[in-house]
């Protein structure tokens, strides 16, 4: 909207943006400053309380690795998110390919089922998921988390990939087929390289979703050394004493990588999500 606005309107606009940014950044400010506070300042009240730590205790960021199995939690998160991403993509690419390039009976039904599936979050199905995982002996196992995260991200993966494939003309694949390539070869050698940006966006999005997943892991994982980071931070949230500074120091390590990844794909992702929803 290109409009000439009065200075007042401009002021109001800046003020609104400023306030929203402050509110959004405030929890991150609290997380950073609290993570570097000493235990005394952490719980100080009244006059003794401080906004910024009087002495920045950077040692908190080192202590967490000793105090709890933070390294193991991060590793578990990488395994779960990485595994789920690979599985979701490996299942999603062929499905998205069929949906964008082939005509067949039941296509509409399958599309409908895919769209419906994303409506049912794991939380609503938790009782059923728990019983299924118990039957498969996959409670307290990273494999169980990988399978579930992959399945519940399948709809998004198919949706984003199908959008990417549909936006690419099939002429090149047909040319490759005339040159003697099979369908699989045409997909691997022609379509996939061209759709790399869309595929990377999908990969990162599924990775972030699985990395940030909390509820399934909380329900299924009982041994400490198998917890992903989102559940692992609860160890500082202890019985009668909460070590907030450690909790936040660990949270920073859990947050930075995904925020950076997200900033990389933000533009692509939004276009993919909305066009996927509107145009299919």
């Amino acid at each position: 909207m290109k409009t000439k606005k009065s200075p007042w309107a401009r002021m109001a606009l800046y003020l609104f943006v400023f306030v929203i940014c402050i509110i959004i950044l405030y929890p991150y400010f609290v997380m950073l400053t609290t993570a570097a506070k000493s235990n005394e300042e952490m719980y100080a009240t009244g006059e003794a309380a401080v906004l910024l730590p009087s002495v920045w205790q950077w040692s908190n960021f080192i202590d967490i690795w000793r105090e709890a199995a933070v390294f193991k939690y991060l590793l578990n998160s990488i395994i779960v998110a990485g595994g789920a991403t690979c599985l979701a993509i490996l299942c999603g690419i062929p499905a998205a390919y069929a949906l964008s390039r082939m005509r067949f009976k039941g296509k509409g039904v399958f599309m409908g089922a895919v769209i419906m599936s994303q409506m049912f979050s794991p939380v609503v199905l938790l009782v059923g998921i728990y019983r299924l995982m118990t039957a498969m002996h996959l409670t307290n196992s990273l494999i169980g988390l990988i399978l579930l995260n992959a399945a519940f991200n399948q709809a998004f993966a198919i949706w984003l990939l199908r959008g990417t494939f549909t936006s690419i003309s099939s002429e090149m694949e047909q040319a490759a087929k005339i040159d003697g390539c099979g369908t699989v070869q045409a997909l691997m050698r022609v379509l996939l390289p061209v759709s790399a940006p869309g595929i990377v966006t999908t990969l990162i999005f599924v990775f972030i979703n699985s990395w940030n997943e909390y509820t399934i892991a909380l329900t299924l994982i009982s041994s400490d050394l198998l917890k992903p980071i989102t559940v692992g931070i609860n160890v500082f949230y202890g019985f009668n004493f909460i070590k907030w500074q450690y909790l936040f120091a660990t949270s920073i390590f859990a947050t930075i990588p995904v925020v950076i990844l997200f900033l990389c794909i933000e533009k692509h992702l939004v276009a993919g999500l909305t066009s996927g929803g509107v145009k299919g």
Binding site: L13, V17, C21, I23, I24, P27, Y28, T34, A44, T45, A49, L51, L87, C91, P94, Y97, M102, R103, F104, K107, F110, G112, I115, M116, Q118, M119, F120, S121, V123, V124, L125, L126, V127, G128, I129, L132, L147, A151, Q154, I208, W211, N212, Y214, T215, T219, T230, I233, S251, A254, T255, V258, V259, L263, E266, L273, T274, G277, V278, K279, G280
Partner: protein, 301 residues
């Protein structure tokens, strides 16, 4: 050309698409369809405290939850939670999206900042806010005291209503970015000549907003609203972290209530019945969404 091909090839052509779909179908059927079936079955079964299925018990789980005042309170909370969070975050998200579409200094930085709550794990944001509003040593009390706005520390969560209001606030904050970016992507596809035409016609800011911008944003807003209804309805970490549904089970939504029933109180059958209720509500939303999406698809073709 097709008719000249041998029969087996023809059959192959018909079967091939389903082979491509197979991995995805298997993954989703086992991990999503089986639990759906299991939830329905469990909701009609008596489950002992140790988790043993003692068999069909009719609708008694449903009778139990429908006779339980906490369930009705929870259902009310869920409706309020979903409407308030989705409604307010949509309005604020639209305003923010419209503002971010203007050119001003620092726009890129603001865009990056708005991404933050979307990318950060909900559980981490919930824990931070739980700390901020802590009555004894929370960051908000310290900040407001230092600014001289309050004399003594305030108990921000004295009543269930206050607890719930804070939870809604956090919910709105984490939901705004998705709306904003949907609006931004929708705005990019609007033809600027429409505005020029409107300007020639002497349209005011408000009439341009309501007669040009918002109607053209409707497709993006439909997607963001429907998806947000699903996310917010299913949102677990915020409420579970900040109040755990307490005090006295007054601040539950359906998902935290069913989690507590199932994994704290060992009432698995009753929890499954709550799931089914949530499931039915979501199914109605999902069908509406599917109809909108598939209809849009048909128009596209």
């Amino acid at each position: 050309m097709k008719e000249n091909k041998p029969r087996t090839k023809l059959n192959m052509r018909k079967v091939e698409p389903y082979i491509w779909l197979l991995p995805s179908i298997i993954l989703m059927s086992v991990m999503i369809l089986v639990p759906i079936f299991s939830v329905f079955q469990t909701s009609f079964s008596e489950i002992s405290k140790s988790g043993v299925n003692k068999g069909f018990n009719g609708v008694s789980n449903y009778v139990w939850i429908f006779q339980n005042p906490t369930f009705w309170n929870t259902l009310g909370n869920t409706v309020i939670w979903t409407i308030v969070v989705v409604g307010l975050s949509t309005v604020l998200g639209i305003i923010l999206g419209l503002v971010l579409n203007e050119k001003f200094h620092g726009r890129k930085i603001v865009r990056a900042i708005v991404v933050f709550p979307w990318a950060t794990a909900l559980i981490i944001q919930s824990v931070i806010w739980k700390y901020i509003i802590n009555a004894d040593y929370g960051a908000l009390n310290v900040l407001l005291t230092k600014l001289g706005l309050i004399d003594s520390y305030v108990n921000w969560t004295a009543t269930p209503g206050q607890f719930f209001a804070w939870e809604c606030f956090v919910g709105i904050l984490v939901t705004i970015p998705f709306v904003t970016f949907c609006v931004l992507s929708g705005l990019q596809s609007i033809d600027t000549s429409l505005y020029e035409a409107a300007a020639v016609d002497g349209a005011t800011f408000w009439s341009r907003l309501f007669k040009v911008t918002l109607p053209l944003l409707m497709p993006s807003l439909t997607v963001s609203t429907v998806l947000n209804i699903i996310y917010v309805f299913n949102s677990f970490p915020i409420i579970w972290t900040i109040s755990k549904g307490d005090p006295a089970d007054q601040t539950h939504t359906l998902v935290t209530y069913l989690y507590k029933l199932s994994f704290t109180n060992q009432k698995v059958g009753e929890a499954a019945a709550v799931s089914v209720v949530g499931f039915v509500i979501l199914a109605v939303c999902a069908s509406v969404y599917m109809m909108i999406t598939l209809r849009a698809e048909k128009e596209e073709e």
